[in-house]
């Protein structure tokens, strides 16, 4: 009976993992990169690479920039201060648009200013890391709700695969140090198990919290309570369109924000990361100062990732008080803790890398899982067509996605910086290359296709520092000396990825295929 139970769990583990396995891999891959989405965006705008913080007064010039450039009907401004992730000052404005389908939609225009001069860097238009992040949560080129449903279903399958995997691998603490190289299927199994077990808390957390983050989509029949406030607000806004009051900066010039930042930091005891300005150019112009990050994971205001902020009048600099979010129920603490862990906004550089590495382990876990199926189950089932199909999907899904991502980075530098539709070109290159990586293994011998694609991928990643050196004022070496660790880190990571892929290619070429 017990053996029967294990068998059925094995069956469920295999199929819930396989059926949407490629999608799960894509979600893990793009999600892992999303930990660095701001860094990726920064790298993809070489115009901003030379921005270094030298002069705090540049922040006031960000306000001047908004006074001069923001449209009269902007509902609010945002100034994001440079930090270890973004080297520029972001000065953005938000318009409110009423969309018949989605309700209130903010329309945000971002500008990236040089952190030492406050000049607009006129950075090239790119989706940057945002593209990978959006792909992670709602795919691309389809209705957002549909995309999130698909992602949600894949996440549910993943969750079932993880739980059954735990039941299946009952000797969790027995052999999690075991990895036998060069043993065919056995090696893939070991790699699958050790990446799964050593990062198990991460895998459970990331999958379950992913489900919770999509709860409003997946469980639409129990969301009235969450939507009530929003719907009331939306109804109000729809029936009385916001009155646009033109700003008058002559009469109400904003005061300097530099001393206000110092004061806010003193009051909160934390570094300020963002400043939200509402009612610009009006009598009641208000600035809300929000800390960079919180020191706990149960804070209440997830959108602003801090549980306290301070407000000042930007007309005369008067302190308007400190806002602390209300204490919350236990259930909400759990929910906040999980969703906060998922998006990891609290993470500093060190923690961010830990999350990234756990994400890589998840990515390797899904990839090895898919490979094991081809090598073991399909062989046992003796279904040549099914095996071929899965293997083609594996090659295009695993190495193909990595190649497409590298191609996306290349396109970012090779498409002219100021051509009109460069953003759709970048995304177009990504998808075109990805489709090609599925066609290639159909034509070529499949073991050879793996090796080909691994080498292509290795080359494309390893050459990223080179292409960066030619198309940006920063290269791997002077980025270090200039202190731009974001660009240096990106280049170095790409180089290391390339080398690791080359090692994998050598490893795979040397191996006899299990037929």
């Amino acid at each position: 009976m017990k053996e029967k139970f294990r068998q059925s769990m094995s069956w469920l583990h295999t199929w819930s993992g396989l059926i949407l396995g490629w999608l799960i891999f894509v979600i893990f891959f793009t999600g892992t990169l999303s930990y660095f989405r701001h860094e990726i965006t920064h790298w993809m705008q070489p115009e901003t690479h030379e921005s270094v913080v030298r002069d705090a007064a540049a922040l006031d010039r960000a306000v001047d920039f908004l006074v001069k450039n923001a449209p009269d009907d902007a509902a609010g401004w945002l100034i994001a201060l440079p930090d270890e992730r973004m080297k520029t000052i972001e000065a953005s404005w938000r318009k409110v648009r009423i969309d018949p389908k989605y309700g209130i939609r903010p329309e945000i225009t971002q500008n990236f200013l040089d952190a030492s001069t406050g000049e607009n860097t006129n950075a090239r238009k790119t989706h940057g890391g945002e593209f990978l992040y959006r792909f992670h949560i709602e795919l691309y080129g389809m209705d957002k709700t549909l995309g999130r449903w698909i992602i949600g279903i894949a996440t549910m399958a993943m969750f079932i695969a993880i739980i059954t995997g735990i039941i299946l691998h009952k000797r969790i603490f027995k052999d999690f140090f075991t990895f036998r190289g060069k043993k065919g299927v056995r090696s893939w199994m070991d790699a699958h198990i050790f990446t799964a077990v050593l990062a198990l808390p991460y895998h459970v957390m990331i999958t379950y919290s992913g489900l919770l983050l999509l709860m409003m989509i997946l469980l639409p029949w129990n969301t009235e309570e969450f939507m009530r406030e929003y719907n009331e607000m939306r109804a109000k806004m729809l029936e009385q369109p916001a009155e646009v009051i033109s700003p008058d900066f002559e009469q109400y010039p904003p005061v300097s924000i530099v001393p206000l930042i110092a004061d806010a930091e003193k009051r909160l005891g934390e570094k300020i990361g963002k400043i939200y300005i509402s009612n610009p150019g009006q009598r009641n112009m208000l600035a809300t100062f929000v800390p960079v990050r919180s020191d706990k994971i149960t804070y209440t205001d997830r959108s602003r990732n801090a549980d306290a902020n301070v407000n000042y009048s930007l007309r005369n600099g008067r302190f308007y008080g400190e806002m602390r979010t209300e204490p919350i129920s236990k259930a909400y603490s759990v929910f906040n803790a999980l969703s906060t862990l998922h998006v990891a906004r609290f993470a500093d550089t060190f923690m961010r890398w830990l999350f990234f590495i756990s994400g890589v382990m998840g990515t390797v876990m899904t990839a090895t899982g898919l490979i094991i199926w081809v090598q073991k189950k399909a062989k046992a089932a003796n279904k040549p067509f099914g095996r071929k199909l899965v293997e083609v999907l594996n090659i295009g899904g695993i190495t193909g996605l990595a190649i497409a991502t590298a191609a996306y980075f290349w396109a970012n530098r090779l498409v002219p910086a100021y051509s009109a539709d460069r953003m759709s070109w970048e995304v177009g290159v990504f998808f075109t290359v990805w489709v090609l990586t599925f066609i290639h293994p159909v034509i070529r011998d499949r073991k050879q296709a793996w090796i080909d694609q691994l080498w292509v991928c290795a080359g494309m990643f390893a050459l990223i520092p080179v292409i960066n050196a030619f198309t940006s004022p920063m290269n791997l070496f002077n980025a270090f000396s200039a202190g731009n660790m974001v660009v240096a880190g990106f280049d170095l990571t790409a180089l290391v990825t390339g080398v690791l892929l080359a090692v994998t290619a050598v490893f795979v070429s040397g191996k006899k295929e299990v037929k």
Binding site: F177, T178, P201, K296, I297, M351, I357
Partner: protein
Amino acid sequence: MLAGLITLALTFTGFTLIALGMEKHHAQIMDKPFNTALKPVYMLSGWVILLIAAVPCVMQYKISIGLTAWFGCMSLSGSVLVLMLTYTPRKVFAGAAGAVPFAAALFLVNILL
């Protein structure tokens, strides 16, 4: 950052001790034959060091984020150990032994600065 490195070093040592408590891995790491009597000693000290390794991160990041960092460090150092056991098993012992004074030195630096 420093606290994170201390935790990384200590979790590596902890995992290595646990591995030494398993006959299969003991043979990979050491030349000496496996002494069954020492098994509980290895296991216990390994787990204790793993638990102690949480302290620097908790001190640095407060309890909730600190424990998260601790889990992350375990995933990383555990993976390093797995790969070392496969490709350079003879360096594991030196690494684990060296990790302790390394962590202690970092701890001192952390206090003095």
